[in-house]
């Protein structure tokens, strides 16, 4: 290859340096937040004068934080389930269907990913105000399902495209009805894609803040909304602790995904 890493010569040093700088730029803020959450300074001074767990104690002692975390998890789980179910049907249509406007439909279903979130947030907020869904869990879940849908559709369509339809045909010749063949053969065969879809959809809702701010009410707050609100009210290291937990859970989910993918794709 023309751009073979082995043949880059001194450019290799520059490439490694540049990559490291980009990685640091992306990761350092996260590292700082995590470090500050353990720091004893009330004012988030860096480097921290000492180390403590008291911000975490305060976090877990405050029911509004726990409540927000549970709300986030609940909404993300519901949005993920809905997005995967709808994503499955949509993916079958997009991959197997032969109808006019198929590409158009694919584009439409993926727009939430490219549409400016704030535009979407205002639009759906105005709509939900009118039909009385603003500030309700149902409204929240619907809004997040729409945002999560592209993250479900992309891995499922990819898995379905990589699945040889002859295998499904073989199951049908073996005596399985088309529905049985899909449930017993096709779905298990694309389970890695479905699993990835569930994780991505969950995360898309879990750390979403813009739409969540519009959807939230005083009694219905997700963790990112609570963090946002606390940041504006008083800059306490508790926020850093909450953020660290958010990052931690996301990281855990990504690791679990990677491990399961490896296990499933033997």
């Amino acid at each position: 290859m023309l751009l073979d890493y082995e043949r880059l010569g001194w450019l290799r040093v520059a490439l490694v340096g540049f990559t490291a700088a980009v990685a640091a730029f992306l990761l350092l803020p996260v590292v700082f937040i995590v470090l500050l959450s353990f720091g004893s300074s009330r004012w988030l001074a860096f480097p921290p004068p000492g180390w403590t767990l008291k911000w975490y104690e305060q976090l877990f002692a405050d029911p509004t934080w726990i409540d927000a975390a549970l709300t986030s998890a609940r909404i993300a789980a519901m949005a993920a389930i809905l997005a995967v179910v709808i994503g499955l049907f949509a993916s079958f249509a997009l991959v197997r269907g032969e109808f006019r406007g198929r590409q158009l439909l694919r584009g439409l279903l993926l727009t939430p990913m490219v549409l400016p979130v704030v535009v979407f947030a205002i639009a759906i907020y105005a709509f939900f105000l009118r039909i009385g869904l603003a500030g309700t869990t149902i409204g929240f879940v619907i809004a997040h399902t729409i945002l999560a849908l592209p993250f479900a559709i992309i891995p499922i369509t990819a898995a379905l495209e990589g699945f040889d339809k002859s295998i499904e045909d073989a199951a049908i010749v073996c005596g399985a009805s088309p529905l049985q063949a899909r449930l017993k053969i096709t779905l298990p065969s694309i389970r890695i894609g479905i699993f990835s879809a569930a994780i991505f959809a969950f995360l898309a809702s879990w750390d979403e803040v813009v739409v969540a701010i519009f959807m939230a009410s005083p009694t219905l707050q997700t963790l990112p909304v609570k963090i946002w609100g606390s940041l504006r009210a008083d800059l306490s290291p508790v926020v850093a602790a909450a953020s660290s937990l958010l990052v931690g859970l996301t990281l855990c989910l990504m690791i679990v995904t990677a491990l399961l993918r490896r296990k499933l794709s033997r």
Binding site: S166, I167, D169, G175, A181, K184
Partner: protein, 358 residues
């Protein structure tokens, strides 16, 4: 004749203006191994899919024991099928794959277990029951697919180029396995391939497809020794074709003039020809020899090349008209003393040569 077991009646399949299958009619007796042979796009797979139920024919009918299959959905036809691609269920073990058709039929556990063991023994993969498809070679996967397709004792087994993804040596091994399994189970097999050697090796009868029609149907010997057309002669085995002009036919022995002006007589005409009609003379490479036989006619040629192939030699000769002829004498036959000398002759029995319309 008794009623045929499987009857394909005037099956026709069109895709828009394109006719993929033209009114194909075949009767298949029970237990026969029938191969659909032909180049790609000749309609052989489409005909098979019509029997499997993946594609409804545009017209015509498929009858199994006198009952039409067409109104029966694929999963209720009770037909076995092995596909060209590997179609084992990737998340199920070998034993679970073979058990699948029995499980969807809700057979009792004991029967499923016994049948799976029988089938894996049939394809000689008893020790692979707990493996997953990803851990099997291509040949093993197709044998499991065969076991799965036979597990529910289907009356007909369809095989759609099942060996085309395998290398040649493995292909021959599995062909032998398929022959043995056909012998042991007595199942009626419809087999699709574009490989004429495979067709000759496996089949009781071969239906040779060309452009959606059956060009000839018969045993391998029929197609090889008595080809109905130039296409059949060219597709099955090796053939030499020489342009010629028909002079006359008397008592079914035809006389022609070759491009170099030489006259050959005693040839087999596949149909009546007019005087002066352009024809093509076909003779198999192994029917040609470098030494005259009792009833042979001769062709004047130059020897271009000779090579040794173990059981046979290959001699490439060229006529004065510039046509190359492939000669395959057995390797113990006498060689020309000086191949490069001019005025060489090759010989064949005119009864082994055929005339086709040009």
């Amino acid at each position: 004749m008794t009623q045929p077991f499987l009857s394909i009646r005037a099956v026709r399949k069109t895709f828009g203006a394109f006719v993929a299958v033209h009114d194909v009619t075949i009767d298949v007796p029970k237990g026969e191994f029938l191969t659909f042979l032909g180049p790609s796009g000749s309609g052989k797979s489409t005909t098979l899919y019509a029997i499997a139920g993946f594609q409804d024919p545009s017209s015509g009918d498929v009858l199994l024991e006198e009952k039409s299959l067409l109104s029966v959905p694929s999963h209720k036809r009770n037909i076995g099928m092995v596909f060209q691609r590997y179609t084992l269920f990737p998340h199920l073990s070998v034993a679970e794959n073979v058990a699948f058709p029995l499980r969807v039929r809700r057979r009792p556990d004991a029967e499923v277990k016994r049948k799976v063991a029988d089938m894996l023994a049939l394809v000689r993969l008893e020790n692979f029951a707990d493996r997953y498809p990803g851990a099997l070679s291509g040949g093993q996967q197709q044998r499991v697919a065969l076991a799965r397709a036979l597990a529910y004792d289907p009356p007909i087994l369809l095989m759609d180029e099942p060996l085309s993804a395998l290398d040649k040596k493995l292909r021959q091994e599995i062909q032998a396995e398929i022959r043995r399994i056909h012998r042991e189970t007595g199942v009626t097999i419809l087999y699709v391939t574009h490989d004429q050697e495979e067709a000759l090796h496996l089949s009781d009868r071969i239906a040779l497809f060309k452009e959606g029609r059956i060009e000839q149907i018969g045993t391998g010997e029929d197609l090889y020794l008595r080809p109905a057309s130039e296409f059949v002669a060219g597709f099955i085995g090796n053939s030499n074709f020489l342009p010629a002009e028909h002079l006359e036919t008397a008592a079914s022995a035809a006389t022609v003039r070759l491009a170099d002006g030489s006259i050959l007589t005693g040839l087999k005409a596949t149909r009546p020809f007019d005087k002066g009609q352009k024809v093509r003379l076909m003779v198999r490479p192994e029917a040609l020899s470098l030494t005259p036989g009792p009833a042979s006619v001769a062709l004047a040629v130059d020897i271009v090349d000779t090579a040794f192939f173990g059981d046979r030699r290959r001699v490439v000769a060229r006529t004065a008209g510039g046509d190359e002829i492939d000669v395959r004498p057995t390797s113990d036959a006498a060689e020309p003393a000086d191949p490069s000398a001019s005025g060489q002759r090759i010989f064949f029995d005119p009864a082994s040569a055929f005339l086709f319309p040009a």
